[in-house]
C-alpha cells in the first residue's frame, strides 16, 4: 500500500488510466457504456464512415427511453421521427452484437434506472453514457459521467475516453433530516447553496451520516443531480447498503466471484486524510422540503421561504429577472399557495420504487385535485411491477390517478408528454430550464412528497402538513 492517503475518486480513476498524455487528458478505460436512441445514431454513422468496429460489444448496453411513448407502448410509435430513431437503435445494436432492451422488452426503462436494477452497475466501475445524468451510477462508488456523441463513437470504437483529470470536491452533510425531507431536498439544497455552476470542473464525493443512512434509491437521486451544479459527476463510497442492494441482481457476481468482488469493494473509500481541492459542510437538520422558483436547478428555496431578490442571490441581475419573468413570479413572493396545473413524478431522478412509495404515502385516502393533470411514470417495467405488487397502484387509482408506462417522458418532453406553454408543473425531474418540459412550460422542481402534496391540493403545499 502506498503511504499517501487517496480518495475514493483517485482509487477508481487511477485504476483505469491506460495512458496519461503530458499537458493533455488521461486515456481512461470504460467498464460499462450505456446507449439510448437519441445520442447514439450519429455515433454509429461515424463508425461506418470511418470503417471502425465496436471493439467490446458486451461492455455496451442499449435501452430505449428518451423518445418513447408512455401510453399504448404495444402500438407502433406514431411519430415517424421517433420511430426512426428507435429502429436505428435496434438495427445498430443488432448489427454490432450489443444487448438491447427496446420498447416492449420487460427489462426496458430509463437507462439510469435499469442499469443498477439489473446489476450492470457495480462499485469501482467507470461508466459513461450519452446523457448527463449518468452521474446517477456514482451512488455505487463509480466514476460515471455523461458524454457527447463523438465520445460515444470513441467508446464504441476503442472502449476508452479521453478526459482531463477533474478537481476533487467533498460535500459533507451530517445531522438528522427532518420528517418530510427526502434525498431530493438534500441535493436541491446543496445546489441552491453552490449555484448551477458551483462545482464545474470538479468531481464530487458525498460523505457524512445523511448519505450513510440513505437507501440506494436516495443515493442515486443525489448523485443524479451532481451535473446540475456543473460537476462532472458525484459518488458515494459503497457500504453494506450498496452490497445488499446489488446481491442477487441478474448481472451481479455470484459465489466466489461475489466474495472476491466484496473484498475489493470494501477498499473503495476515501482514506483518512485524503485531500480534496474543495470541501463543504452542511447541517442536514436545517434542510427543509425544497422547491425551485427559477429556470435553473440552483434557483431553489425551502418551501416556506420567500423567493429571494437578485441582490440576495448574487450573480447577474438581468439573468435573474429574465428567469422570474419567464416563471411569472416576483421577488419576495411566497412559494406556498402558488397554483399548480401539472404534476410529474418520474425520471431517472425520482422514478424508482421508493419515490412512488413516498408519493402514495401522501395521496393515500385523498383525491387528486380537480385542476391538476398528473403524469405518473415509473422509471422501468420492474418499478411498474413493484408499484402493482405493493398495492401502490390501487392507492393511486382510488385517488383518481393513472399510471403510465416507463420512459423519460416529461423530463425532457421529447415524446408527447409536454407541459403546455405558460402552465405550472411541479416535477420530480432534474431540470427546470426554459422550455425543458415543453415550449413555454414552467417547471417547479421538487421531491415526490412535494409533488404529491401539490397533486392533492392543486397548489404548492408543504408536505409536512399532510403527513
Amino acid at each position: 500500500m502506498s503511504s499517501k492517503p487517496s480518495s475514493l475518486f483517485d482509487k477508481v480513476w487511477d485504476s483505469h488510466v491506460v495512458r496519461s498524455i503530458p499537458d493533455g487528458p488521461d486515456v481512461l478505460l470504460i467498464d460499462r457504456h450505456f446507449i439510448h436512441e437519441v445520442t447514439s445514431p450519429v455515433a454509429f454513422l461515424g463508425l461506418k464512415t470511418r470503417g471502425l468496429n465496436v471493439v467490446y460489444p458486451h461492455r455496451t448496453f442499449a435501452t430505449a427511453d428518451h423518445n418513447t411513448p408512455t401510453i399504448n407502448q404495444h402500438l407502433p410509435v406514431a411519430d415517424p421521427l421517433s420511430a426512426n430513431q428507435l429502429k436505428a437503435l435496434e438495427e445498430n445494436t443488432s448489427s454490432y452484437g450489443i444487448s438491447h432492451w427496446g420498447l416492449g422488452n420487460p427489462k426496458n426503462g430509463i437507462v439510469h434506472v435499469v442499469g443498477p436494477e439489473n446489476g450492470i452497475t457495480l462499485p469501482g466501475m467507470t461508466i459513461v453514457c450519452g446523457d448527463s445524468h449518468t452521474s446517477t451510477h456514482g451512488a455505487f462508488g463509480c466514476i460515471a459521467f455523461g458524454i457527447g456523441t463523438s465520445e460515444v463513437e470513441m467508446v464504441l470504437s476503442s472502449q476508452c475516453i479521453m478526459q482531463p483529470r477533474p478537481l476533487k470536491m467533498r460535500i459533507n452533510v451530517n445531522g438528522q433530516l427532518q420528517k418530510g425531507v427526502t434525498p431530493k431536498d438534500v441535493i436541491l439544497y446543496i445546489i441552491s447553496q453552490l449555484t448551477a455552476a458551483g462545482a464545474t470542473g470538479y468531481f464530487v464525493e458525498y460523505a457524512g451520516s445523511v448519505f450513510e443512512q440513505m437507501s440506494m434509491e436516495g443515493r442515486m437521486t443525489v448523485c443524479n443531480m451532481s451535473i446540475e451544479m456543473g460537476a462532472r459527476g458525484g459518488m458515494i463510497a459503497p457500504d453494506n447498503t450498496t452490497f445488499n442492494y446489488i446481491k442477487g441482481r441478474e448481472k451481479a457476481p455470484q459465489g466466489k466471484d461475489w466474495d472476491d468482488a466484496l473484498t475489493y469493494w470494501k477498499t473503495l473509500k476515501s482514506d483518512e486524510g485524503a485531500s480534496f481541492d474543495k470541501e463543504y459542510h452542511y447541517d442536514g437538520a436545517s434542510i427543509e422540503p425544497m422547491i425551485t422558483y427559477g429556470t435553473n436547478p440552483g434557483m431553489g428555496v425551502g418551501i416556506s421561504q420567500l423567493i429571494p431578490t437578485a441582490a440576495e442571490v448574487g450573480g447577474g441581475k438581468s439573468s435573474f429577472d429574465k428567469a422570474l419573468a419567464y416563471m411569472g413570479f416576483n421577488e419576495k413572493e411566497n412559494m406556498l399557495g402558488k397554483p399548480v396545473d401539472y404534476v410529474f413524478i418520474g425520471s431517472c431522478t425520482n422514478g424508482r420504487i421508493e419515490d412512488f412509495r413516498a408519493f402514495a404515502s401522501v395521496v393515500k385516502g385523498r383525491k387528486k385535485a380537480e385542476n391538476v393533470t398528473a403524469w405518473i411514470v415509473p422509471g422501468s417495467h420492474q418499478v411498474e411491477k413493484q408499484i402493482r405488487d405493493e398495492g401502490i397502484y390501487d392507492i393511486l387509482t382510488e385517488a383518481g390517478f393513472q399510471l403510465r408506462q416507463p420512459g423519460c417522458s416529461a423530463c425532457l418532453a421529447m415524446n408527447d408528454d409536454k407541459i403546455p406553454a405558460g402552465k405550472y408543473a411541479v416535477s420530480t425531474s432534474n431540470r427546470n430550464f426554459e422550455g425543458r418540459q415543453g415550449p413555454g412550460a414552467r417547471t417547479l422542481l421538487a421531491s415526490p412528497l412535494v409533488a404529491a402534496a401539490a397533486a392533492v391540493t392543486g397548489k404548492v403545499t408543504d408536505p409536512r402538513t399532510l403527513i
Partner: protein, 198 residues
C-alpha cells in the same frame, strides 16, 4: 482528419449577454430526433429565435442583421445542462467556429472541441469589454489566435491570453480528433482491457 483546422480567426461577433445559457435553449429536445448530423443550425436557439407560429422574434440577436460573424460571445456558464452534442453541432452548423465566454460548462466545452469549435474562456472584465465594444459598434472585430493563445479586440488592441491544453491545441490546429488518437493506441488498450476487473 475530422474537421477543419483552426489557427487564426478574425471575425465580427454575435453577442448574447445572458448567463447560464443551457443546452435546452441552444437546441430544444424536440429537435433531437434526427439520426444524421444535418440541419441543426436552423434550430439553434429555436425558442428564443422564433415565435410559436415560426415567425422570427425581432428582438433576438440572431434575427438582427447588424450582427454576424463566426464568433458567438455568451454570458457566464455557457452551455450548462445536458450532454447533447447536438448543441455544439447547432452552433457549428449555424456557422460559428468559436464561442467566447467567461465560464463554460464542462461537457459543452468537451463536445465543442471534439467537433472543431474553439471555446475561449476570458475574464469577466474582458467579456464585459467585448459586449460593450460590440454594442457601441456591431462591426467590431475580434481576433482569436490559437497558436499564440490570444484573443484581441482589434479596435482597441486590448488582448487577453486563454488556456488550452497542449494536446487539444495540437488537435484543433491539425483537424485531428480523439478517435484518431485512440485508434493509434489500440494495442495498448487491448492489453489493458484484458487484464481489467470488469
Amino acid at each position: 482528419m475530422a474537421y477543419d483546422q483552426f489557427t487564426v480567426l478574425k471575425s465580427t461577433a454575435v453577442p448574447l449577454p445572458i448567463e447560464n445559457v443551457d443546452t435546452d435553449q441552444i437546441i430544444p429536445a424536440r429537435f433531437l430526433k434526427a439520426t444524421k448530423r444535418e440541419g441543426f443550425g436552423d434550430n439553434l436557439f429555436r425558442d428564443w429565435r422564433y415565435n410559436n407560429d415560426d415567425t422570427p422574434k425581432q428582438d433576438f440577436v440572431l434575427n438582427n442583421p447588424i450582427y454576424s460573424g463566426k464568433i458567438l460571445v455568451g454570458g457566464r456558464n455557457f452551455g450548462c445542462g445536458s450532454s447533447r452534442e447536438h448543441a455544439a453541432w447547432a452552433v457549428y452548423d449555424y456557422g460559428f467556429r468559436c464561442v467566447v465566454s467567461s465560464f463554460f460548462a464542462d461537457i459543452f466545452k468537451n463536445n465543442s472541441m471534439n467537433i472543431g469549435i474553439l471555446p475561449v474562456q476570458v475574464s469577466d472584465d474582458f467579456l464585459d469589454n467585448i459586449f460593450k465594444a460590440i454594442e457601441a459598434n456591431p462591426s467590431t472585430e475580434l481576433e482569436i489566435n490559437l497558436p499564440n493563445q490570444t484573443i484581441t479586440l482589434l479596435a482597441t488592441g486590448e488582448q487577453e491570453s486563454f488556456q488550452i491544453n497542449g494536446y487539444k491545441k495540437h488537435n484543433l490546429m491539425n483537424g485531428f480528433d480523439d478517435i484518431d488518437y485512440l485508434q493509434d493506441m489500440k494495442e495498448e488498450i487491448k492489453v489493458f482491457a484484458e487484464k481489467s476487473r470488469y
